[in-house]
């Protein structure tokens, strides 16, 4: 019981967010981490277990593999355990839930290591996966990560077509909700907030946080709600890396070169 309570507490960094829409959150329990480490392909300390938040009993989920094939995910209450990755590249976790007059969807992408699938991740992001979909344009590159204080672009599509002038909200753990509006191409850009607290020096000393993008669109009587959740890390330049000192060091290096120039010029004059 104590373990379950602790699991639930650690599980979702965005617990209670999403305004009623379903969304994925990593489940930080030991089982998820043990499975991930047995599977290989996950990053150090990552979990293979995810919770679908705000879900009702009628939700179902599947995984789209890097080669664009699909694999069903089985819920155990509200959690799913990812299968051992059979190839390297981006995986998309897709969940869908239905109500009488509403469709809910949740997306999450994972970059897992393994033998490359030889299919471009652009095909995975371009593949229509839900009616209303927030699409990273592009995803962060393999071996990279979403970082605080940096801007990222996304597209909003409804039934495969850009959805213009639509509000999309960004929620993180410690920053008030921010609202963005899609432009004439259905695109919008967000800047991830620097809202990490109790920061330790060193990237590996700080766990990533989660950001949640959510949107909704009404088509006649039917309401569509969609979310995208992804982890993001702190930006070392906000903490233990100084860019002004860096620029200063470049300037000193440049001056060193100029001193060398003066010496060689003098040497040339003196023969």
């Amino acid at each position: 019981m104590k373990k379950t309570a602790l699991m639930l507490f650690i599980a979702a960094t965005l617990w209670g967010y999403g305004d009623g829409a379903i969304y994925w959150a990593p489940h930080g329990c030991d089982d998820g981490k043990k499975t991930a480490s047995k599977h290989g392909g996950h990053g150090k300390g990552e979990s293979a277990m995810f919770t679908l938040m705000n879900t009702e009993a009628n939700a179902h989920a599947h995984l789209i593999l890097p080669d664009l094939s699909e694999q069903n995910l089985t819920f155990k209450r509200t959690t799913v355990m990812l299968p051992k990755p059979s190839m390297g590249g981006y995986y998309a976790m897709v969940a869908k839930g239905y109500d009488t007059n509403a469709t809910f969807s949740a997306m999450r992408y994972l970059s897992l290591q393994g033998r490359p699938a030889k299919v471009s991740p652009t095909k995975l992001t371009a593949l229509p996966k839900t009616d209303l979909e927030i699409i990273p344009d592009p995803l962060h590159r393999e071996h990279d990560r979403y970082s605080a204080s940096k801007s990222y672009r996304f597209l909003l599509h409804f039934q495969g077509k850009p959805l213009i002038n639509t509000a999309v909200t960004l929620e993180t753990h410690d920053t008030p909700v921010q609202t963005y509006t899609t432009d004439q191409t259905g695109a919008f850009s967000i800047t991830l907030p620097n809202d990490f607290k109790n920061v330790q020096v060193g990237r590996s000393e700080n766990k990533p946080s989660e950001f949640l993008l959510s949107t909704q669109h009404r088509d006649g009587e039917h309401l569509y709600k969609s979310t995208l959740t992804m982890p993001y890390s702190l930006n070392p330049n906000d903490f233990w890396q100084s860019q002004s000192y860096g620029a200063g060091a470049i300037f000193i290096g440049f001056l060193g070169g100029l001193v060398f120039y003066r010496r060689t010029k003098k040497g040339a004059k003196n023969g």
Binding site: S120, H143, K150, G202, G246, A249, I250, Y261
Partner: protein
């Protein structure tokens, strides 16, 4: 137009095109994701930290493989194939690329090489006194540095990190000091790679070296040709396969070579060995970037030539020499 048509002009056009592709390629072609890159093992300093780049150099996968894969031979008793497969693929790809273009990756395609060339052109136009050739003694002192950087920073330190002897900061120490990381990212408007890290002593030292080196390289490039290329670890890596390269510099010297030294003066890497007597011999030196300037500036018919397999692509000539020196005088004012 024919008056200006030289190997150097052709090289500048190729360099500029390569620069645009390697620094901004992902904005033009579908090469954003690692899996979409052209080779991921380029024998030239095109940086993986550049999120808009078209391809990246072989040194980053080599360091990662040493850190994460080869080290498992010692830490997890991994099988040879599992531990070495990635490294073998990288080395194999580099070998194939060297077979095709040999060391021309440096002289014709490297973005950092072109960046330095541009600063040398700026220095010339600003009227800064150009250093010309470095002395033989200076060249001999500088040359061993790259033979230290390649095995130590690219292979040994990452391997020791993977085994657990060193901290994470030594996992890719060459990338941490590489000026191409700062240059290519800055050229795309991303200034995140300019920093001094205070995470620990190792990170601090590496970030300080990187920034000082970058500033020094820019200043030196204003009056010294190819300052960073002289210590670049890509050269030793290329040298491992230069014998199989189809493109090569061939010399069929004559008695004038002993006194002329036009080729050495033209060489941006100050390779004194190219003035030595040679009879129809491949003289592609470890430091050579196959830029072709020695062929352009050789005043003797057929002495220096660029060969691709058995085919002569370019050969030195009196006419070519006259034309090239005239353009050089015009350029230098």
């Amino acid at each position: 137009m024919d008056k200006l048509l030289t190997v150097t002009l052709l090289r500048r056009i190729v360099q500029l095109t390569a620069f645009v592709f390697f620094v901004y390629g992902a904005m033009i072609f579908t090469t954003f994701y690692t899996g979409d890159k052209l080779t991921q093992n380029l024998p030239a300093l095109s940086c993986a930290y550049d999120m808009k780049g078209g391809d990246f150099c072989a040194l980053i996968p080599l360091q990662h493989q040493m850190d994460h894969r080869v080290s498992t031979l010692f830490t997890q008793n991994a099988g040879m194939m599992e531990a070495l497969m990635g490294t073998l693929i990288t080395i194999g790809t580099v070998a194939v690329l060297i077979l095709i273009l040999n060391k021309a990756f440096c002289g014709w395609l490297c973005p950092l090489g072109f960046f330095q060339d541009v600063f040398t052109m700026i220095g010339t136009k600003l009227g800064l006194t150009q250093l010309g050739s470095l002395s033989r003694e200076t060249v001999n002192k500088i040359r061993p540095i790259k033979w230290f950087i390649f095995p130590v920073l690219v292979l040994i330190l990452p391997l020791l990190t993977g085994i657990g002897f060193l901290g994470h900061e030594w996992g890719n120490p060459y990338c941490s000091i590489c000026p191409s990381r700062i240059m290519t990212t800055a050229m795309t408007g991303d200034m995140n790679q300019i920093y001094i890290s205070q995470a620990n002593t190792g990170y601090f030292i590496l970030s300080l070296i990187a920034d000082l080196l970058f500033g020094l390289m820019i200043a030196l490039a204003l009056f010294v040709r190819q300052p960073f290329c002289r210590i670049c670890p890509i050269l030793p890596m290329q040298t491992l396969f230069k014998k199989i390269g189809l493109l090569r510099l061939v010399k069929n010297g004559n008695s004038h070579c002993d006194t002329c030294s036009s080729c050495v003066k033209a060489c941006p890497m100050d390779i004194y060995e190219i003035q030595n007597q040679a009879e129809n011999k491949n003289i592609t030196h470890s430091d050579c970037t196959l830029c072709g300037r020695c062929v352009e500036f050789c005043p003797h018919d057929g002495v220096m030539s660029f060969k691709y397999g058995p085919i002569i692509l370019l050969s030195s000539s009196k006419e070519g020499f006259k034309k090239r020196t005239k353009i050089d005088k015009w350029w230098k004012g």
